[in-house]
Amino acid sequence: MILYTIKRLIQGVITVWFIATATFFAMHGVPGDPLMTDKAMSEEVRKNLDAHYGFDQPKWKQYGIYIGHMVQGDFGISFAQENRRVNDILWEHFPVSAFLGILAITFAGLGGILFGALTARYRNRMPDIVIMFLVILGISVPSFVFAALGQLALVKLNAFFGTSILPVAGWGTLSHMIAPSLVLGLGTMAFLTRLMRSSMLEIVSSDYVRTARSKGLPTTRIFLRHELRNAILPVVTVLGPSIAAITTGGFVVELVFAIPGLGRYFVQAVQQLDYTVIMGTTVFYGAFLVFMVIVVDLLYGLIDPRVRLE
């Protein structure tokens, strides 16, 4: 397990390096010069930047400088915002995105497991039919539609009760977080529900559940120890990719709900061609996702002894 962890971490570092390299060359392929913005730049500023990033040097030298900075954890200075280091932007706004993401994935995971188990239990009966219809909606409708509909619903709800039940946008308190994280987690929850349902159906009719019943165990014990634990395994394997989906979904949800998260800054940076912020956030998000996938894999090992002991 320790050896496996080390192996996975090394793989992760290589993956992040790939991401960094690809980002670098992609950014250099983009037409337009980040330094040629409307604001005229003094000769002095230009010199300083050249000294720092080596813009007057050949590409491969620039690449070396860029990787060198990155290894030291320095993502540079924003081109569009005065006096802001990319590191500060990450430090300030990433926790907001992470918190939103964690809430969304928790909601998606718990909801998926609960509804999946429920639909399997009531297979082809009313709860199953209703939930599976909603699941198809949840999978096929994109999150920005949910975001808009969610906001509209909140407006109506608040108007109906005459007070603010839940805030329509913004960030800061728990009540601000509920609506956006539900909206953000919805698609993933639908997907996980469907996965959990089929997994559960397969396991309910498995040989070892029959064995458990032949042992005369109570139904709750069979459900918790024999069915649920095994049925969750496939859900845990897709948790990594699900985190990626929720992260990218977060860009949109943060914009719509006016949440000061990193996603919003990323979108803004792309619009303004804020070179260092784009590269910094891309590499940071990449590294974060790679790390999360590793964490999920290790978590899977904890649940499944066949993985843990090999």
């Binding site: 040989d207 064995t211 499944d304």
Partner: protein
């Protein structure tokens, strides 16, 4: 029909007129159609028949393991020491499933929970039925593994199913099934998925455990060789019915049903000369969506008569405790029963004549 079956009152388990159906998209499958038998302490009853004839469904309905829907027990009773069993519990609340009756299955590779240690899976039964603490139950689980001849039982108890071989998994299943000292062990094709040498070891183990604990065994198999080696009593099952029941000697040396005779002729033995005489039975079992109105074996029977087509044969007593469901045994039938024994009655391996 039951009138002709000997009423033995000392039976441990008594099943009468069991009928089980399954609702499927294709219609209703009549999987078990009026089966009666008894199980006696310390004895082995073998239920033998081709795949799909209803052996598993028969024993699973006694254990209350029939998935419902689609399954349905339409009729019949099962009594343990005279007390009726419903849903794995006797009339006075005694838990039968896992406690009085243990069960093992065909494929040990898939019959154990992959994410739970072997020891925990055995201990679980003791915790539930005996109220043992986890550590107490675990200690006993190690003893049970030792009883089923697993080396290093305390280390093995901490391992997971994927770390075991098929034979060891079946031993663990046995340890689990006998944990509460059941009076009956139901073994549904316990060696079918195993290598021949492992098969033999498992059968030996079952036999020894039976003798040590005076345990009754209901052994399901499609292999007459296994029957010959293990059974005291035999029920020959076909298309949801018992066509012949009797002692192992009755079945092997005094077969009274054309199907039993056919099965024996199709049975390989270790003798060279008999291998050439292997005669598989032509045709296939009837459709259980619409079972034939008369004798179930009619379509394949070399002795079939016109009467067999539409009149189901009742059980005929052909000896003490020996029953067969075939018109040839009717008093008015001109055919001689001896005609049946056209197949060479070669002495069987594992049985003394």
């Amino acid at each position: 029909m039951t009138a002709v079956i000997d009423q033995v009152t000392s039976a441990l388990l008594e099943v009468r007129d069991l009928e089980v159906e399954f609702d499927t998209y294709g219609g209703t499958v009549r999987a078990v159609r009026g089966v009666s038998f008894e199980v006696h302490a310390g004895k082995t009853l073998a239920i033998v028949g081709e795949s799909g004839c209803g052996k598993s469904v028969t024993v699973q309905s006694i254990m209350g393991l029939i998935p419902s829907p689609p399954g349905r027990i339409v009729g019949g009773t099962a009594k343990l020491r005279g007390k009726e069993i419903v849903d794995g519990v006797t009339a006075d609340g005694e838990i039968v499933r896992g406690s009085r009756i243990g069960m093992i299955f065909q494929d040990p590779m898939t019959s154990l929970n992959p994410t739970m240690t072997i020891g925990d899976q055995i201990a679980e039964t003791l915790q539930v039925h005996r109220g043992f603490s986890h550590s107490q139950a675990l200690r006993l689980a190690v003893e049970l593994l030792e009883m089923t001849r697993i080396n290093e039982p305390s280390r093995r108890a901490r391992q997971y199913p994927f770390e075991f071989s098929g034979g060891m998994l079946q031993r663990s299943m046995i340890a689990m099934a006998i944990a509460c000292r059941p009076s009956i062990l139901i073994a549904d094709e316990p060696t079918t998925a195993l290598d021949v040498t492992i098969q033999s070891q498992i059968l030996d183990l079952l036999r020894d455990l039976q003798q040590e604990n005076n345990m009754a065994i209901v052994l399901i198999t499609h292999d007459l060789g296994v029957v010959a080696r293990m059974a005291d009593e035999v029920a020959v099952m076909y298309a949801g019915e018992f066509l012949e029941t009797g002692t192992a000697d009755d079945i092997f040396y005094n077969s009274a049903h054309p199907y039993t005779v056919g099965l024996r002729a199709a049975m390989p033995t270790n003798r060279d000369e008999s291998e050439q005489d292997l005669m598989p039975i032509d045709g296939s079992p009837p459709d259980l969506f619409a079972p034939p109105p008369g004798c179930a074996y009619f379509a394949r029977c070399p002795h079939a008569m016109e009467a067999c087509r539409n009149d189901p044969p009742p059980g005929f007593a052909v000896g003490s405790g020996h029953m067969t469901r075939c018109w040839l045994h009717h008093a008015d039938c001109s055919r001689r029963i001896e005609d049946l024994h056209y197949a060479a009655a070669a002495p069987l391996e594992g049985r003394d004549a």
